[in-house]
Point group: C2
Chain length 268, copies 2
């Protein structure tokens, strides 16, 4: 399977232009799994709930999903991308998977970052792995990387590649994702955005360096900090089914869940 | 508090010489927490159970513990070091903590690496944090690093510094420990050994590069790959009590244990 990322520079509030830009960069690509950034269609720095309500969409029937479903089916792509989701008058920072067959799945970000908490509800569904042609895909969004439990659960659920739409502003994620890949023996694709976003008195610079990492923690491809880019590499997703570290160690069979109980304890 | 490591080159089977070498490198140091390598007193490559039985000791009254307890109390040190432990005719790859007050705690390695499984029982007690003057100490051993659950449990139990006696032969740990520090906002001290050990037809080269990492994932000190060395730095362990990432994010309060249930599921 080919897996990769589309690193973009979204413009705040310009959903149609952002979707069009993404589609134009995907022209000619077929038979691949491609990850786009978090909130790629809306931009990141919402100033108030009115903007969120204006720009959020259904994760099954909205404009962005409808447009990208056409691309996914026509070009035989599995597309993973971040949107602001509206559902029953609640708003989520969500990731959508559209398979090459047109099937739609979504994940609502559980670990909201900083001011996202002012505008979005945290997701309350756990982390799932979804079958596509050739393997199983998991999704997590940006700051979820900080919590090792997320990628661990995805891998235990069978994800062979973790798709990771992001809008990164902190310096650590790209290195940490090598550990996320390695400790779970899965592929990870982090699709970051680039550019400066300035709204009101807040401005953020996004760090680019989208990357594809193997189950051994090797970076197969990495984008620059400054350019929009599409990178896709051919990999064997079956590598992620093998959790062997030495002839005597299987990373998952060696786990000792009886010793991990504190992980489910609530914060005191 | 001063925290640091003593990177050593143990000689297989020469317990007295190895203990003497460690003591001589600690001469003059006072008021610090110092981590020594895994199995620092025995060496690593056991060939049969007879060797294990010959070299293993009690983790409370054995030669090594008795000798290092004198040093700990006389020099006001908290010492953490790896030994082959004998207990009720079972054998463990253990880490011992002797506090500056002479109190002894121990941890039996839960995740055994490769051929260690031929000689040692896996530990079945969970991961604890132990109070010392100025903070709380957690212990894990070498390959435990590969399992994010271990350092997570230690941090949730209140460890401010994770002491990590090691005999590393794989290339990834030193980088991954930066993520272990960061994702838990704790200090980590990895004490590795150096040297080539060749026994029968097996030989291993240990990778050195012992290190001290801050809760922000910064490497404060790192040893070379080839020299024995003692490095100690002054840190404020209270930094590890602050789990703040942004004004709106506390790494522990933001956790969503209800979504992490798969982590306790046994391997299928």
């Amino acid at each position: 399977m080919k897996i990769g990322f589309l690193q973009l520079r979204p413009q705040f509030g310009r959903v149609k232009e952002n979707v069009r830009a993404a589609k134009s960069m995907l022209v000619g690509l077929t038979d691949a799994t491609v990850v786009l950034p978090e909130l790629f269609n809306t931009g990141y720095l919402f100033r108030n709930m009115e903007e969120v309500r204006d720009l959020a969409e259904s994760a099954t029937t909205g404009y962005t999903v409808t447009e990208l479903k056409k691309v996914a089916v026509a070009q035989q792509l599995n597309l993973v991308f971040g949107i602001a989701e509206a559902k029953n008058k609640k708003y989520f920072n969500s990731s959508v998977l559209i398979t090459s067959k047109g099937k739609i799945e979504s994940y609502q970000k559980a670990h909201l970052f900083d001011r996202e908490k002012l505008f979005f509800q945290p997701g309350t569904r756990s982390f799932n792995a979804y079958p596509v042609e050739g393997g199983k895909i998991g999704m997590m969004i940006c700051f979820d990387w900080f919590f090792p439990e997320v990628s661990r659960v995805l891998a235990l659920e069978g994800a062979q590649v973790i798709c990771h739409p992001s809008n990164l502003v902190l310096p650590w994620c790209q290195d940490a994702m090598r550990t996320r890949s390695l400790e779970n023996k899965v592929f990870t694709v982090t699709a970051n955005r680039i550019g400066l976003e300035k709204r009101g008195n807040i401005s953020l610079t996004f760090t680019g360096k989208s990357q594809i990492v193997t189950p051994k923690g090797e970076v197969l491809a990495q984008a620059s900090e400054r350019s929009e880019s599409l990178k896709v590499v051919e990999v064997d997703l079956n590598e992620a089914l093998d959790k062997t570290v030495t002839p005597n160690n299987d990373l998952f069979k060696d786990r000792k869940p009886a010793l991990y109980k504190s992980i489910l304890r609530k914060a005191g």
